[in-house]
């Protein structure tokens, strides 16, 4: 069974995000970029499936600027067998919308014929939480989102999902798209020898035109602003003073 893992190059989750003064977006120049954290969990799960002989091949795919090949090399350093880069943008600020990404991934799925697509539940840049569900729709496949546990048997995946009320367990027929949550596993680190080896693994470079997909955005970004800042309040000296202030000053007790 082949597993496809889409990975996205995003601003590192530890970097303080700064909105550009002209309000067109956030500053991504000279900022540390990394693999989207949820995609690391998806990649880790795929490698574990391969280690458990449940998967035969793990293919990583990234859609974005040419620098996304760094993200693919990292995916291969932790265990992906090969990578596919779809160069869909020139400027690092360009974010390809989930609908266009899903259409490109559908084309990759049709070419590669994986039985399972494992992907992060959301990218920490646009926070859309949409690509996996959209891909499943376009393929007519079942979906299991926000997975914290995945078991494969008899052509189905039994998936524990993180939902508002607690957990929900669903069973989806393969092939399927599973989007994963952070608690699924603890992603491994790439070792230096594996980083070196990853440089020799195959990396195919494509464009949206190769797949006949139009990536023109449907949403126009009219502006990006700083969120309203909360002013820091006051320090209180004791629990007693705190309760007094909450009762009298804030009126919330």
């Amino acid at each position: 069974m082949k597993v496809l893992v889409p990975v996205k190059r995003v601003i590192d989750y530890n970097v303080q995000v700064r909105v550009k003064p002209d309000g067109t977006g956030v500053n991504l120049a000279n900022v540390k970029m990394s693999m989207n954290p949820f995609d690391e969990n998806a990649m880790e799960e795929a490698i574990r499936l391969k280690d458990a002989k449940l998967a035969s091949e793990v293919v990583a795919v990234s859609i974005g600027v040419k620098q996304a090949q760094d993200t693919l090399r990292m995916a291969m350093a932790v265990g992906a067998d090969r990578g596919i880069l779809i160069e869909a943008a020139d400027a690092v600020e360009t974010d390809i919308e989930p609908l266009a990404v899903a259409k490109l991934l559908r084309a990759v799925v049709e070419a590669e014929q994986p039985q399972l697509v494992l992907m992060g539940k959301q990218a920490i840049d646009n926070d859309m939480n949409a690509t996996g569900q959209m891909l499943a729709a376009l393929l007519g496949w079942g979906q299991a989102t926000f997975a914290s546990k995945i078991e494969l048997a008899d052509g189905r995946a039994t998936v524990t999902r993180e939902v508002d009320e607690g957990e929900q367990v669903v069973s989806v027929a393969l092939p399927a798209v599973i989007s994963v949550d952070l608690r699924l596993n603890q992603p491994r680190y790439a070792t230096l020898p594996n980083i070196m080896k990853a440089k020799k693994k195959p990396l195919e470079v494509k464009t949206p035109a190769d797949y006949g997909v139009d990536v023109t955005p449907r949403l126009t970004v009219l502006g990006v602003a700083e969120p309203p800042r909360r002013a820091a309040g006051v320090r209180v000296g004791s629990a007693e003073e705190l309760v007094q202030k909450l009762k009298v000053e804030a009126g919330v007790l």
């Binding site: 957990e167 669903v170 952070l182 970004v221 602003a225 309760v243 202030k245 909450l246």
Partner: protein, 316 residues
């Protein structure tokens, strides 16, 4: 504008997030009443409840085993069949809404607008990106706008029964969807709690890694009991196994905006602030005077939480 709102419920009662999403839907609809879809199993009571909300013009009630757990595949198929004639299809940004709506959007070949916190115009929406560190305004050119709504950003629509116009009409047997059969519900594991719902509670008491253990975390339950509060947790506390994931507040958990948010032993990572900084009053209790949580707190108490929390309980 003809707006269809997808109700979130548990077959017995409407989820509070639905009334909040209705407020956003009404802003998109202008003067036109909003239609609400209640899809579920044996959920006539929910349909009646939806019909009683102010601003609802009609309720479409789809009942059947296929909708019992509102799985994404049959729900998106049902909604795609109902899309014709609607300018907007809107749902609360609950885990159910987040599961269904992008699938629907792809079936309609439109781009979803996720987790909105403002409606500027029927085609223009405000939404947080980068864990709320930036706020984006986007305009959709798609024929049908598929939108999910962050509940904390909108006040719940009021119940109109007995206070003005008659409740909306209920149209039973609305739409039918074949079960695509690609997925099946197995089990729900719902934590029973007598605490208020985290997403809509007026007071939230949240704990972080500073609590140190699952046993210590339990002491927040006592404080929450005194305050009539829901209990929340930071991701660090969830990852450490102190609290179950459904209590997680933050970018990857729930967004909350209570009147009072009490952060105990939480340092205040940006991913946590993303889920709670719209709270009306924020209280932070932490022994580290430099913890980032104090930068957003209205009232900060630099103290050992194991002394401060019992002292706080005693004062209440």
């Amino acid at each position: 504008m003809a707006v269809l709102l997808v109700a979130d419920h548990d077959n017995r009662a409407l989820h509070d997030a639905t009334a909040r999403a209705l407020t956003a839907a009404a802003q998109m609809a202008g003067d036109t009443p909003v239609a609400v879809l209640v899809a579920g199993q044996d959920c006539a009571a929910v349909a009646e409840q939806a019909a009683g909300l102010a601003g609802v013009g009609s309720v479409l009630h789809a009942d059947g085993a296929v909708f019992a757990h509102r799985l994404a595949e049959p729900m998106a198929a049902l909604l795609a069949g109902l899309a014709d004639g609607h300018s907007h299809i809107v749902a609360p940004a609950t885990t159910t809404g987040k599961n269904i709506m992008p699938r629907l959007a792809a079936l309609l070949d439109v781009m979803i607008v996720s987790d909105i916190i403002g409606v500027e115009a029927p085609d223009t929406f405000v939404r947080p990106i980068y864990a709320g560190n930036a706020i984006q305004t986007v305009r959709s050119a798609d024929a049908v706008k598929v939108v999910t709504v962050r509940g904390t950003a909108f006040a719940p629509a009021t119940v109109s029964i007995g206070a003005g116009p008659a409740p909306a009409s209920i149209e039973a047997g609305a739409g039918a969807a074949d079960d695509p059969g690609v997925s099946a519900w197995v089990e729900d594991r719902v934590r029973e709690s007598d605490r208020p719902d985290l997403s809509s509670a007026r007071v939230v008491v949240s704990g972080g890694r500073g609590l140190g253990s699952k046993e210590n975390f339990a002491m927040l339950e006592r404080l929450a009991g005194k305050l009539g509060a829901a209990v929340g947790a930071s991701r660090a506390a969830v990852d450490a196994g102190f609290a179950p994931n459904e209590l997680q507040v933050g970018q990857t958990g729930k967004a909350v905006a209570p009147d009072l948010y009490v952060a105990i032993g939480i340092s205040g990572a940006i991913q946590h602030l993303a889920g709670m900084k719209d709270s009306k009053i924020i209280v932070a209790i932490n022994k580290d005077a430099d913890a980032p949580i104090f930068q957003v707190a209205d009232y900060g108490l630099v103290a050992d939480l194991f002394e401060a929390v019992p002292a706080l309980e005693a004062e209440l």
